[in-house]
């Protein structure tokens, strides 16, 4: 197949899109929110949810200083991360940027989401481990270390499979893009 030979055929292809003006008006008027704006909305919502989560969680684990500090520090770190993500998304301007810039930024955003998932899993198990430690550290050596090994193994395998799944579906495409264009 020769791309140059295709040019004529391509330009002769008669595209007939018969979307009436009323439908276009409805598209724009009917809560016309683009996928990109929805993405931003979800990110802002997640940031807003962290505020009650900080107070409720800290109060809930108030009797354990260690848990309370770990939890509130994590939520604050999560909030900063979330704020940076929103700032990053807001800076992406379809109207000014070229395709290369937009693709690069969206790839970075996707990479941020994958890191977030991995960090989230590690955090969940670290938090569970900390709860176990506080609750069972005075129990037998076998129960404590058995629990520790089990949690570590479970964290590692879950992260491995999720990363592998994400890698083959998304990250490989991003790596390819970076190899070709950056």
């Amino acid at each position: 197949m020769d791309l140059d030979d295709l040019k004529k055929d391509w330009q002769q292809t008669d595209v007939k899109v018969s979307i009436g003006e009323d439908k276009i008006k409805r598209m724009l008027g009917n809560k016309g929110q683009s996928a990109y704006e929805k993405l931003l909305k979800y990110e802002k919502l997640e940031l807003a949810l962290l505020i009650p989560a900080l107070f409720v969680g800290t109060l809930f684990w108030l009797d354990s200083r260690c848990l309370s500090i770990f939890y509130s520090a994590s939520v604050i770190a999560g909030g900063i991360w979330q704020w940076r993500k929103i700032k990053f998304l807001k800076k992406t301007d379809f109207l000014i940027m070229n395709i290369l810039e937009v693709t690069e930024r969206m790839n970075k955003y996707r990479t941020m989401l994958f890191s977030e998932i991995i960090a989230g899993i590690v955090w969940t198990f670290a938090f569970a481990g900390l709860i176990c430690y506080i609750s069972y550290h005075d129990r037998s050596w076998f129960v404590f270390w058995g629990g520790f090994v089990f949690i570590s193994f479970f964290t590692f395998t879950t992260c491995f499979f999720i990363y592998k799944y994400l890698y083959y579906n998304n990250l490989k495409e991003i790596e390819q893009f970076e190899r070709d264009n950056i």
Partner: protein
């Protein structure tokens, strides 16, 4: 909400450039992101940028830039985020396309996002300078990449 005086101008622009919007959307559509969703997303983004368009570049170049930016960045956190207007029946693929074009559509999936944009702009007779403006690649890079893509497509169609 659409303002009465601006909407006529915008609707005229969309109607007269629906071919470009369709072609861009068709190059990036897949089962997860159907052409009708991409089409609407492009129209929405064009509308958002319409007020700031001052004619510094050609209208078609501006439309290409926004349409391609929309498609390369189209990402949904929720797969079931649906659009409000059903336009599936209004977008019908042209029936009289040549076998070569059909083959191109089969192969296009195997190309990267930037490569697809380059093919599309090349087929629509955009100059290397215009392609460079839209994509952000240098003119030399556009030429090199296009040559590479041409060879890649030839190889793929022979396989």
């Amino acid at each position: 909400m659409v303002q009465p005086d601006a909407d006529k101008e915008f609707l005229d622009m969309v109607t007269s450039n629906e071919g470009i919007i369709f072609k861009v959307a068709s190059f990036y559509a897949n089962t997860e992101n159907p052409i009708s969703d991409l089409y609407q997303e492009i129209v929405l983004n064009l509308w958002k940028g319409f007020a700031s368009f001052r004619g510094e570049s050609k209208q078609s170049t501006w439309i290409y830039r926004i349409a391609l930016n929309t498609c390369v960045s189209f990402y949904r956190r929720k797969k079931n985020d649906v659009f409000f207007v059903d336009i599936t029946s209004d977008i019908v693929a042209p029936s009289d396309v040549s076998n070569n074009i059909k083959e191109l559509y089969k192969l296009i999936d195997k190309l990267g996002k930037i490569e697809r944009a380059l093919v599309l702009l090349y087929l629509d007779e955009k100059t290397y300078k215009e392609i460079s403006e839209i994509t952000g690649l240098t003119v030399t890079n556009v030429a090199t990449k296009l040559n590479r893509i041409k060879n890649k497509l030839k190889k793929m169609s022979n396989q």
